[in-house]
Point group: C2
Chain length 442, copies 2
């Protein structure tokens, strides 16, 4: 099969037409993320209005922006006007302020107000991503009345599967699901059906926390309330999945010592990728300068026993790996809320034992081969260093992310690569101190 990118390159409009007629909206969206920014709008211009909107809504904000740049004014207005308010707020957030302002001014007053409301909440908050278009019920309604209201108001709501129930002050008092309504007797009252022990989020709550709640409690939607407990929106499961994926991509990027790209890999330029990686690489090489200092300090020892140099990569590599193991485990456990700050003493005590066990295992296995090839003195130095290094690296790998969280830094920032680099320098000190203590000739 020829890809869309190739068809565009060849300027084969007939082939593009034929392919677009066959392809699903997801396929089209996927191909769009893989072609160059200037040409992304082309496919959308050839699609019908409805399909174009479907494709457009499946794109990331970064891709959406590139598409908009290639479309004429009325088509742009149409696409933006027809988006869900929360998706629209997310897109406008990413656009340059001037462009965002121009788009906002073109919206109908109703849509503009919805979007403005969302944009008024803090970045990364549940308020930003909730849908302000929902159907709420009253506890004194019968099931029949409730279903009638859903039919009347449901067509513009983003979800009608989770229906918040409010009192006359619009305060959230319960939740019923559409499933309950459909399966219930028409004469039953909403008050009898609704759950009152419910999960909800506040507009100012962190997006990720709200998304994780949806995931853990297996919800279709989560009511979002303001500071006076009044319902102002609904956070849906598809937004939750998107937020969790973005967070995981970000955490993963940090473990790989890079900033998140913010766009699909194939849509980024080589320069854009290099820029996303440069900062961390610089931070880490500056931190690594510490290892040069440590070795410079022990240069005399190295000159006397050059053999010690042979084990430097192996030892610091192993220490780095042990530290990364602990860091990844603890950061992940904190991200999914399995570990809290109060667990620090237990986590430290446990990781220190884990490090000791691993260190002893590696030391026992390494002693014989090293002793046979380089003498039992060197074997002893390497083995002792492995024990000390694994214990220390595991301890530090678990400790640093927890401390970072304590002082308000995202624990994923103190990720494996940073810990590895810090462990490198201290590991070398340990290695040379042990060598000086054990080797007779120094």
């Amino acid at each position: 099969m020829t890809s869309l990118a190739e068809m565009i390159e060849e300027g084969d409009v007939d082939a593009i037409h034929a392919w677009l007629a066959e392809a699903g909206t997801l396929d089209i969206a996927e191909e769009l993320t893989r072609i160059e920014s200037g040409e992304k709008a082309l496919a959308l211009r050839l699609l019908s209005r409805d399909r174009a909107l479907d494709v457009f809504e499946s794109l990331d904000p970064a891709d959406q922006q590139q598409v908009l740049e290639g479309l004429r004014g009325d088509r742009v207005r149409q696409l933006i006007e027809e988006m869900d308010p929360d998706d629209r707020a997310r897109l406008l957030d990413e656009l340059p302020a001037k462009v965002a302002h121009r788009f906002l001014s073109q919206l109908s007053p109703h849509e503009r107000q919805l979007t403005n409301t969302l944009l008024g909440y803090p970045p990364e908050s549940a308020g930003r991503v909730m849908s302000p278009e929902f159907v709420s019920l009253r506890a004194d309604m019968t099931v029949e009345e409730a279903l009638a209201k859903v039919r009347r108001a449901g067509s513009v709501a983003e979800t009608i599967y989770m229906l918040p129930v409010t009192d006359d002050q619009r305060r959230l008092v319960g939740v019923v699901s559409l499933k309950q309504l459909v399966l219930a007797d028409p004469g039953e009252s909403v008050a009898d059906l609704m759950a009152t022990d419910i999960h909800f989020a506040r507009v100012t709550d962190d997006q990720e926390v709200a998304a994780r709640l949806i995931q853990e409690a297996d919800l279709i939607g989560l009511p979002v309330v303001d500071s006076e407990d009044r319902i102002v929106g609904v956070f849906t499961v598809d937004d939750a999945m998107e937020i969790i994926e973005a967070e995981e991509t970000e955490d993963l990027a940090r473990h790989g010592a890079t900033s998140p790209l913010g766009r699909p890999y194939m849509a980024a330029s080589a320069f854009g990728i290099a820029r996303a990686r440069a900062t961390w690489l610089l931070i880490l090489i500056v931190a690594a300068a510490l290892t040069v200092n440590v070795l410079h300090y022990f240069e005399g020892t190295l000159e006397t026993v050059v053999t010690l140099a042979l084990f430097i990569p192996l030892l610091i590599g192993t220490g780095g790996n042990a530290g990364a193991q602990a860091a990844v485990a603890v950061i992940r456990a904190m991200a999914v809320a399995e570990v809290r700050f109060g667990d620090i003493p237990r986590v430290i005590w446990r990781e220190a034992r884990v490090g000791l066990m691993l260190g002893v295992m590696l030391a026992v296995m390494s002693f014989l081969p090293v002793a046979v090839l380089f003498g039992s003195d060197i074997g002893l130095v390497v083995s002792l260093t492995l024990v000390a290094l694994c214990t220390w690296a595991t301890f530090a790998g678990a400790m640093l992310p927890m401390l970072a969280q304590r002082v308000g830094v995202d624990p994923a920032v103190v990720s494996a690569p940073l810990i590895t680099t810090l462990v490198d320098a201290t590991g070398l000190v340990v290695y040379f101190l042990i060598a000086r203590a054990v080797l007779p000739m120094i």
Copy 2:
């Protein structure tokens, strides 16, 4: 607040009762993952039947197993009988075969058959996690008839929000949502409402692929069909979220050079954690032995210019970081299907350029400080090595995961730590070859 673990330790049954009466099911489930295996059943024994089931269903299979071990036979049977068939299949999968068989034999014939069907599909397949209890419609029904069928059959179905439409051979021909049915005119026909351009999975499809499809297409449920296109189940969004989380935890674990724990962090023992990490640590230290060999080979060069040893940790650390950056980016892009095998030439060309850019940047920045402190010859060697190393590491980091996928190995296995270790050894060769070529005294 005293934690459940502490209350149990103090044997304060009144306090436990009071806490259980107040706490939500998610809170109880979360506390249960944090207490020791022998005591997990205690809280469940004190709960009402319905709440106990809710809590039990929120637990991971590993925790569920520990709970079951602490309960009496009839309570065990009851809990298992009342689980959703797909969750039950997942639990039975994790239990020792003998125990699983005993539980299965206690189920009612209907529940046993549902579970057996699921267990008949391959591990990790969509068939294993789909729900076999769903409501299907026929295209010639009216909306009124369809809603009547949903009311009749919906109470046992896991979801009624996505309703597959079949022909008289039970073959999938379309999908309607409950939202469409509720909002439509009662006299309309299902055929007019249903979408026919639909997403579906086959029973043998990979779970993760099906889950990612639900995520990307923003679905509430995905119909699952057998090899003859007959509908056999529904894959729901909450199962999709769980599967994606498990996959991400697994990928993250691999980036941290460890096997997945398979249970919540706090519920694992120190020995269990050490065991999960030992294998990779051993593999990596054996791979690192290569660096000892390389340095042994160049020992003469090192003896002549001991200063070269000072830069070993900095250089291999930087190479490792650059390799990890590329590996994490490419593995993630493959996991979310942004990069396919056919993209190899483009990815390699792009990553090689990224590596070169980063290498040149670091080389330019490092030259002056190194030249001032250790002489311009050493500065030149370090800078040239940084260029070569970053280019090579970035190339290898992008390449190896793609090759792994090509030969059928999960790309996440060829993760950052393995690539780092492999780059270490080759990086040292490059370093010493450059040193020999540049330095006059060798």
